[in-house]
């Protein structure tokens, strides 16, 4: 019997303050919310200025939610939110820290609505010789920046010139024109310590 009385005291203790929390929503601002802890893994967002279109997020995606569509001279990297599992693997894989998981968690949309996709569109560079797109402009620019930061000062100028000359050609055309474009690495041989 004493168990029942202690239980009675316990259930009566919160009679007027139920444990039910209100839904944390931006839709109904006048009601009191419950708290979302910081660091919640929600919908990913890609910073368009930082993304270089390297497709690391596409290869890292564990739920096959990210798709890469190359059309004409545009590359679109699209995350379909209905398949995203918010695992943050793309956040770890991105070399430019362009993709970050926000704290947004409300992802109920009709299937075709644009809100159900997180898309980034990038320009692809087309080859001057064959006309096929082969890499995004941003990726080539960023590779150049990274290269210039860490390269040995002895070869810096040569590499920089080469880069600007060769960047307009896709790898197949560079190979086809290697004599005319002077892509041979023997020009680095005479440098000491290289």
């Amino acid at each position: 019997m004493s168990t029942e009385f202690k239980l009675l005291k316990r259930v009566l203790s919160r009679y007027s303050t139920p444990m039910t929390l209100n839904y944390p929503s931006s839709v109904v601002p006048e009601r009191k919310y419950s708290q979302i802890p910081s660091g919640l893994r929600g919908v990913p967002e890609r910073d368009r200025d930082k993304c270089i279109g390297c497709r690391a997020c596409y290869f890292a995606c564990s739920g096959r939610a990210t798709e890469v569509i190359d059309e004409g001279n545009k590359r679109v990297i699209d995350i379909f939110l209905f398949r995203c599992t918010f695992c943050a693997h793309c956040q770890e894989a991105c070399p430019e820290e362009a993709i970050k998981l926000t704290e947004r968690f409300e992802v109920a949309f009709p299937r075709d609505e644009p809100g159900a996709h997180v898309s980034t569109e990038l320009d692809l560079l087309t080859c001057e010789r064959c006309g096929r797109p082969y890499a995004t402009k941003r990726m080539l620019e960023r590779t150049y920046e990274r290269l210039m930061e860490k390269i040995d000062p002895l070869v810096k100028e040569t590499v920089s010139n080469d880069y600007r000359k060769l960047i307009g050609y896709c790898p197949d055309c560079r190979r086809a024109n290697s004599v005319a474009l002077d892509t041979h690495t023997k020009k680095y041989v005479w440098l000491e310590g290289v």
Partner: protein
């Protein structure tokens, strides 16, 4: 921390098992022994008499080279942390069955027969494991020869016996399963369980996704024990190469595994209260569980699928002030839990519903291969964290904890075991949080490449029992495994269920089903019948298809 391997192990194994063709030492006290197919039965007999326990009996499809039958035995009671893997290579899919030797292999062999088409000669129970019993055509009587279970189309011989199907849709069971009970009045005379409604193909999914992305698929096998699957998977992959994981990562892993256990046991107590009709107990314990989920959400970013397990460490650190706040929350929670659960366990009506219900003696638990709190409630001191720990900190010198057993052998004993385990886990959590709030360090080590043909076994103590993963690395591709086999604890506990159901009252059936803490999402793991559902396939076609699909 480096996970050490005992160098003298091979001689010991050669003594116990002298007819092996080849002995290979794997990382962390696992030994693989290649044997002939005909020796498997004799060795099973020998090992069981020696005191070993069968973890899983499975097979890997080596495409052109045939099949490799694997029997994994746990020798941790004989020699510290030893696990022996018997491999028998065969080109013909006819293999002697060890179902007669040990009860524990029954479901495993039925599963291998269905998934890979291997014929086990002399199998005591030949029914389908995951497919419906009537597949491919209605079977006369339902049972095959020699089985002592009830067939599905049971003739009701006496007028006062009723066959009651509990499931697949039933308010008393949480997930889809069918338990057939034959009742006379209110007493259960015979019982049988049929699973297979949740099969999703996760073992195949992980084989396609590779080691790095596979951890996310492994996490999603089960919602309640998601953390346990993540930890077992990373333990298994780290055993494929010689791994060294930073200490802080190990503390975070222990922390998350024990928080997972706390919320799973609180959920379970609520479910048992609901099943005996006490909705108040359900609401009160789930209210406390919400506080645990808030702590988990603050640490990992998600309540259910933690997503921080990585091969070589964890991906998300716990800042020191968060660890301190969480530690204070857990201490308060531990007091409230112990008060509330003392009231729940002492309630006279609860006691009358749970005491003496669902008896499972020590011998039945040992032979049938029960694991986890079901085994510990029958006075069998078996805990993977003490015998064969995963890659996390469970050393009693670093974190003080204890294995809880109870000798009641009924549902009430299992309840007491889980309640006490919950409080022990709360203690482990506060100790880990205290350590994390006072130190800093790295949380991730770079994984090394996985050698050709490596294999590993990873064990973990999920809230429901012992969880075993077996991964065989491919000899062609560094990123994808050749095969992965998962044996979940509910697999074993559900196989023992019919033994517990006979002789009880009908009102006790959901209580017993609840007391073994069924997690059917863990029990079933696959089957897509075909993309075009209107076409029906025969048995031979299905077997051929599964053999083809396992090849590349």
């Amino acid at each position: 921390m480096k996970f050490a391997t005992d160098p003298k192990l091979l001689e010991f194994v050669k003594e116990i098992c002298p007819d092996g063709l080849e002995y290979r030492q794997l990382h962390e006290n696992r030994v693989a022994v290649r044997v002939r197919v005909e020796d498997l039965e004799g060795l099973a007999d020998l090992f069981i008499k020696f005191g070993a326990r069968l973890i899983h009996a499975t097979a890997i499809d080596l495409e052109m080279k045939g099949f490799e039958i694997l029997h994994i035995y746990d020798f941790s009671k004989v020699r510290e942390r030893l696990v022996i893997i018997l491999e028998a290579h065969t080109e013909r899919p006819e293999v002697p069955s060890i179902g007669k030797v040990t009860w524990q292999a029954r479901w495993a062999e039925r599963e291998m027969k269905e998934l890979l088409g291997i014929e086990f000669v002399g199998m005591p129970d030949e029914r389908h494991q995951f497919l419906p019993y009537e597949w491919p055509e209605p079977v006369e009587g339902g049972a095959q020869k020699g089985s002592e279970f009830i067939p599905m189309n049971m003739p009701i011989t006496e007028a006062y016996q009723t066959l009651i199907p509990i499931g697949p849709y039933h308010p008393g069971v949480i997930e889809g399963q069918t338990v057939y009970v034959k009742v006379e009045g209110e007493d259960v005379v015979a019982a049988d369980i049929k699973t297979g409604f949740h099969h999703r193909g996760i073992m195949k999914l992980i084989e396609r996704r590779g080691y790095g992305r596979g951890v996310f698929a492994a996490e999603k096998i089960c919602g309640i024990c998601s953390g346990a699957h993540g930890l077992a998977y990373v333990t298994c992959v780290e055993n494929l190469y010689e791994s060294e994981v930073p200490d802080r990562a190990l503390y975070i892993r222990t922390l998350l595994a024990e928080l997972n256990r706390m919320q799973s046991h609180l959920l379970w107590i609520g479910v048992v209260a609901d099943v005996i009709g006490w909705k108040t107990g359900f609401m009160l314990t789930w209210g406390l569980r919400e506080r645990v989920m808030d702590i988990i959400e603050a640490i990992t970013g998600n309540r259910v699928n933690y997503g921080v397990w990585r091969v070589g460490g964890v991906s998300r650190d716990v800042p020191q002030e968060l660890a301190e706040r969480a530690r204070r929350a857990v201490e308060g929670l531990k007091e409230e839990c112990s008060e509330l659960l003392a009231l729940v366990a002492d309630h006279p009506v609860v006691k009358s519903r749970l005491i003496g219900v669902g008896k499972l003696s020590y011998e039945q638990a040992f032979d049938g291969g029960a694991v986890g709190p079901v085994a510990r409630g029958s006075n069998w001191k078996m805990d993977v964290r003490a015998d064969n720990p995963p890659h996390a900190i469970y050393d009693p010198k670093l974190i003080s904890w204890e294995v809880v057993t109870d000798n009641g052998c009924d549902s009430y004993a299992r309840t007491i075991v889980r309640v006490k385990e919950l409080l022990v886990s709360a203690g482990i959590v506060s100790q880990c949080l205290e350590h994390l709030s006072k130190t800093t360090g790295e949380i991730r080590a770079k994984p090394r490449s996985i050698p050709v043909g490596a294999e590993a076994v990873g064990l973990n103590e999920a809230p429901r029992g012992e969880l075993a993963y077996y991964i065989r690395a491919s000899d062609r591709d560094e990123n994808l495994p050749q095969g992965i086999r998962i044996r979940t604890p509910s697999y074993r506990n559900n196989a023992v269920l019919p033994l517990m159901l006979v002789g009880c009252n009908l009102a006790d059936v959901p209580v017993i089903m609840g007391s073994i803490d069924q997690c059917l999402a863990c029990t079933d793991r696959v089957e897509v019948i075909g993309e075009n559902y209107r076409r029906s396939m025969g048995w031979e076609e299905l077997v051929a298809m599964s053999r083809r699909a396992s090849r590349w």
